[in-house]
């Protein structure tokens, strides 16, 4: 029971809870307290020192919009943003309640006719921005994986193919997302111009930019994984006379999976970083766009909110990386994965 719990915690990356579990069963209490202190105590001390230092210097730093907000100010701004979200949520619920009543009355009055429901048009809140950003980054991420994995497999299998596309990869990889996003805007707007405003200014620009900037990590890792398949495993395929397709499907791909997931973890990390920039430039939705709006407001309250957004972006990035780490470990079957 205890060992199962410890294994489960280890698997989901919550290693810092393990000393507590051991402590609860009185297994070497001194050692466990020491471990818990290094795993949890020290990071907490580090964070506290950071906030104290920030609080101390904040009042002395002058910005173009007044003093730099300290931790307390930022905390209360975060509270405001959440309250704002709750208010909007209530408004929205009330709006649709009323609409439902109206619809019923309308259908009683004019049976057979369809009632056109009016959409709620309140302003977006932080939760909406976060949701949009997450959808966008995952859309871009999956596009990247869908392109990069097959190309990576081809690269790993064929030296000639690698030689042919390597210059393109090397040329595209170091290009800044800021450069890509402008091209993406122009191309996407041109492609979808006939479809009206719904297709413009949506998440598509940001998603494609995310894809373009982040797919390289998965591509090169997949290629590496495929070309690093153990000769012994290939010999097994030869002795059993597996067809080339089966060899790829049953031997090469599974053995490259840990590498592919390492690449995907890097891709998602880069994607999340690129996303904010491209939303700022190209989108009218998402966290990046929100930060841009706040910046345009040009006041002290907005600056505090921008800092809140930075913490949100950092935390989400951290969570995404942790989840990928857990996935990566699950497919590595005993091979070490660096945290």
């Amino acid at each position: 029971m205890k060992q199962k719990l410890i294994n489960a915690l280890d698997l989901i990356g919550f290693t810092w809870l393990i000393p507590l579990v051991r402590l609860a069963t009185r297994e070497e209490p001194g050692e466990q307290i020491k471990q818990f202190f290094t795993m949890v105590g020290l990071p907490v001390i580090g964070l506290v020192l950071f906030f104290v230092a920030w609080g101390l210097v904040a009042s002395n730093i002058k910005t173009s919009v007044g003093k730099l907000p300290g931790p307390a100010k930022v905390w209360s701004s975060a509270g405001d943003m959440l309250t704002q979200h709750k208010i909007q949520k209530d408004k929205r619920a009330r709006h649709y309640e009323k609409e439902a009543v109206r619809k019923q009355k309308y259908e009683e009055k004019f049976p057979g006719k369809i009632y056109e429901e009016s959409q709620f048009s309140g302003s977006e809140t932080i939760v909406d921005y976060i949701r949009t950003s997450l959808i966008t980054v995952f859309f871009g991420f999956f596009m990247a994986v869908l392109i990069a994995v097959p190309l990576g497999v081809l690269c790993g299998l064929s030296k000639n193919f690698t030689a042919a596309i390597n210059p393109i990869i090397q040329l595209c990889r170091p290009v800044s997302p800021l450069a890509w996003v402008l091209i993406v805007i122009v191309v996407v707007d041109g492609l979808f111009s006939f479809k009206g405003d719904i297709w413009r200014n949506t998440f598509l620009h940001a998603a494609i930019t995310v894809c373009l900037c982040s797919l390289w990590a998965t591509l090169s890792n997949t290629a590496l994984g495929v070309s690093a398949v153990a000769q012994d495993h290939l010999n097994v395929a030869r002795v059993l006379n597996l067809s080339p397709l089966k060899k790829v499907w049953k031997i090469i791909l599974p053995s490259a999976v840990p590498y592919i997931f390492t690449g995907m973890r890097i891709t998602l990390g880069i994607g999340w970083m690129v996303l904010i920039v491209s939303e700022m430039m190209a989108s009218q939705k998402g966290l990046g766009h929100y930060i841009d709006l706040l910046y345009q407001n040009n006041n002290n309250e907005s600056l505090a909110k921008i800092i809140v957004c930075i913490f949100i972006i950092g935390s989400i990035g951290f969570l995404l990386d942790r989840s990928m780490f857990v996935l990566q470990r699950a497919v590595s079957f005993g091979r070490e994965v660096s945290a």
Binding site: H233, N235, R238, V239, L240, I251, P254, F333, G334
Partner: protein, 283 residues
């Protein structure tokens, strides 16, 4: 009374086989002028120091490598590629770490019994897993198994293809002495029941004498070639304990070890002589 499965038609026939690696000037020959007939149904052990081309010979027999010159015949047909009829058991097990025991054996079964139903294939897999005594570990992955268990999975995988011969490349070298003894008996039992030709590469002379009908040593050094054959006239089953007191066993072991050592000295002597000649020529 000598009991053996062997009949007189060779299943493998190697003539003038040479094999080296590297190209042109950097080429180093590993096997030189190999002549070898392997009888159908026999258990042939081949012993030699490490680095004498033992693995290369197994690869030639399996079809994983082709000879630079000479011919390798399997049932009178030249070996041109791999064939599931020639099962190979590798020293490092070569199990796929992401598959369970049944998955690893199933890889072979699914490939070779494609026309059978899922249920039938399932039964075949279970049959061979049971044969090596791993029924309790069917759904474990290689990382959860001990070295001996892993090698047994590898044996089950090779057997499940119902090969005509088993080529074993130091299958037991990585195991501890106790596990090794258990697996030796298991391999002997399978050989007796299945009546398959077994080529066993080993670095242990005792293991060779205990298991084989015939022992052929590799000469030390590179390139290596084959020494004279030693027939093992001991009755089966051979008990490990009585072997130590058996004069025939002791004499055989002395002869083989003596051959390997004297060849090694000869080899070292020629290396020294050659380098002396080189030094003389240089000066």
């Amino acid at each position: 009374m000598i009991t053996t499965n062997s009949t007189n038609t060779p299943i493998f026939s190697l003539k003038n086989v040479c094999k080296g690696f590297g190209s042109a000037e950097s080429r180093s020959e590993v096997l030189h002028d190999i002549h070898l007939d392997i009888n159908n149904g026999e258990l042939l052990a081949m012993v030699g120091f490490s680095g004498t081309g033992k693995t290369t010979l197994i690869k030639l027999l399996a079809g994983l490598e082709t000879p630079d010159s000479g011919t390798v015949l399997f049932k009178d047909q030249p070996v041109t590629g791999t064939d599931p009829k020639r099962g190979v058991i590798f020293q490092n097990y070569s199990l796929l770490p992401w598959l369970t025991v049944t998955g690893n054996v199933g890889l072979a079964v699914d490939q070779l019994y494609r026309d059978r139903s899922k249920k039938e294939r399932r039964d075949i897999i279970e049959h061979y897993v049971e044969m090596v005594g791993l029924s309790d570990a069917m759904f474990k992955r290689p990382a959860e198994l001990s070295g001996g268990m892993r090698q047994r999975v590898s044996v089950a995988r090779a057997l499940s293809a119902d090969p005509e011969c088993l080529l074993m490349d130091e299958p037991l070298s990585a195991l501890d002495a106790l596990t090794r003894a258990v697996l030796q008996d298991q391999i002997l039992e399978i050989w007796r029941e299945q009546k398959k030709t077994v080529v066993l590469i080993t670095n242990s002379v005792d293991e060779a004498i205990l298991m084989a009908d015939r022992i052929i040593p590799f000469t030390p050094g590179t390139p290596s070639t084959l020494g004279p054959e030693f027939v093992v006239p001991l009755a089966r089953p051979r008990s490990r304990r009585s072997m130590n007191r058996n004069d025939l066993f002791k004499r055989l072991r002395n002869d083989i070890i003596h051959f390997l050592e004297s060849e090694k000295k000869k080899n070292q002597a020629t290396v020294v002589a050659e380098s002396l000649v080189e030094i003389k020529q240089a000066s």
